[in-house]
């Protein structure tokens, strides 16, 4: 435990967390920690993801996303050792942060995670990666190409909400596609057209139609 070395800002919040007696007071304590936006709180927020307290986990994910960059490596390093429920929350945090270093994990989760809520968040995250944070244009092109391939694949997911996330991802990606990938753009548009005409869910058809309008 690193409790003894916590800053004067964090310490009282940690005390509140450790004395929380109910799921609700625990959630309130986590919300306070998240609101403080202290990067030194990253380890404790990550620990909360494993508490099996959904309200607290939502607050912790929000906190990790707000803190942003300092959360990324601890999340990636810890993902392997996590229990299943905590993995899902950690992936959602990574998806929300959009850091380039999360791309491999997000791509994998979007395609093959067992839980549809994780595939949904990961697909959304793949489309909304912070492309300007890739260090070189070459890296960015490779990453976008991988993201495009992934999202087109996810458009075949059996769950409507995962396909919906993929469509929003394709729209976001279509707006920032690098010029080197100009030849790939028709694939993206064609996939959206197929969804707009033939997806079994009318909501998906509408969302794909909206994406096409916005990319026109």
């Amino acid at each position: 435990m690193t409790v003894s070395s916590a800053s004067p800002q964090l310490q009282p919040l940690l005390d509140k967390l450790h004395s929380a007696g109910t799921a609700e007071t625990l959630r309130f304590a986590v919300e306070d920690i998240a609101a403080a936006q202290l990067s030194e709180a990253v380890p404790i927020l990550i620990e909360v993801l494993g508490y099996n307290n959904p309200g607290a986990a939502v607050a912790a994910v929000d906190g990790l996303i707000t803190i942003g960059e300092p959360s990324v490596m601890p999340l990636i390093e810890l993902l392997d050792g996590f229990n299943y429920g905590a993995r899902a929350w950690a992936l959602r945090a990574l998806a929300g942060i959009g850091d380039p270093r999360g791309i491999d994990l997000l791509v994998k989760a979007a395609v093959e995670d067992f839980a549809l809520s994780v595939r949904r968040a990961a697909a959304r995250g793949v489309g909304k990666l912070h492309w300007q944070e890739f260090t070189s244009e070459g890296d960015r092109v490779v990453a976008q190409s991988k993201a495009l391939e992934t999202l087109i694949q996810v458009c075949d997911d059996p769950e409507w909400v995962v396909r919906y996330a993929a469509v929003t991802g394709l729209e976001a990606l279509g707006q920032v596609l690098e010029s080197q990938l100009v030849d790939e753009r028709p694939h993206l548009i064609t996939r959206l057209e197929v969804m707009a005409q033939g997806d079994e869910a009318p909501a998906l058809q509408a969302r794909a139609q909206l994406a096409l309008q916005r990319l026109a």
């Binding site: 959904p54 909400v161 919906y164 929003t168 869910a201 509408a206």
Partner: protein, 272 residues
Amino acid sequence: MSDAAENVPAESLTLEEAIANLQQTEDPGLRYYAAWWVGRFRANQPVVIDSLVVALADELNRSPDGGYPLRRNAARALGKLGEPSVVPALLESLDCDDYYVRGAVVESLGELGDKVAIPRLLSFLDGGVEAATMMPGKPHLREPYDLILEALGSLGATEAVGQIKPFAEHSVEKVQYAAARAMYQLTGESSYGDVLVQALAAPDLQLRRAALMDIGAVGYMPGAEAIAGTLAENSLKLIALKGLLETHLRQSPDDALTSEAIHSMDLMDDLL
């Protein structure tokens, strides 16, 4: 879905096995599960429909409190299979003395959409709110009023508005909201949609969840924002907004997306 059987893997039965299980009477558990299975996997075949109608009159499968579990599952499955010819058999089952059988039948009649069921459903409202009291010794009302009201709304029973309206003042919240839902469907008056929106702030999560689904089902677009802001799981809010959007799309035959449709999709994007 509240069925415990929901988690049983689909591949555990083939269609042939399900039909055989449904037709035999040796093992009530297998028959009960098969009745659920054919509904869940939409096994819409004449032999299945016939077997379910037989199961609606089953006397063998009895619960300790005198209920008819097989009849409940058979009634639910018939609602999902969309075969209109079963409506008379379902109407007959409304005389069953198992409250939960009647509830399942009412729901299925609403799903099947045949207006011929309206007069019989309406007869449950005879006596008005005063007669809609708790069943002595049971944890429920005399009739499944919430489901009856919902079915009348889905069936477009505009002639029933006068009888439905007082139920918006019933002492049980679930019944109030069902009445509001039906009244919105039948009259399009936004005050009833607003009642459902207020239910999104109910302290009870079950009520909030029900209100989410109700607003989606009736397509009350002004509720979109409130759905997104409700204290409930994102996955549920997404389903509610999808329902809302799809009801809206059905009601606006135009090919162009309306600003309401686009707004509801923007809200959905933020919940992913």
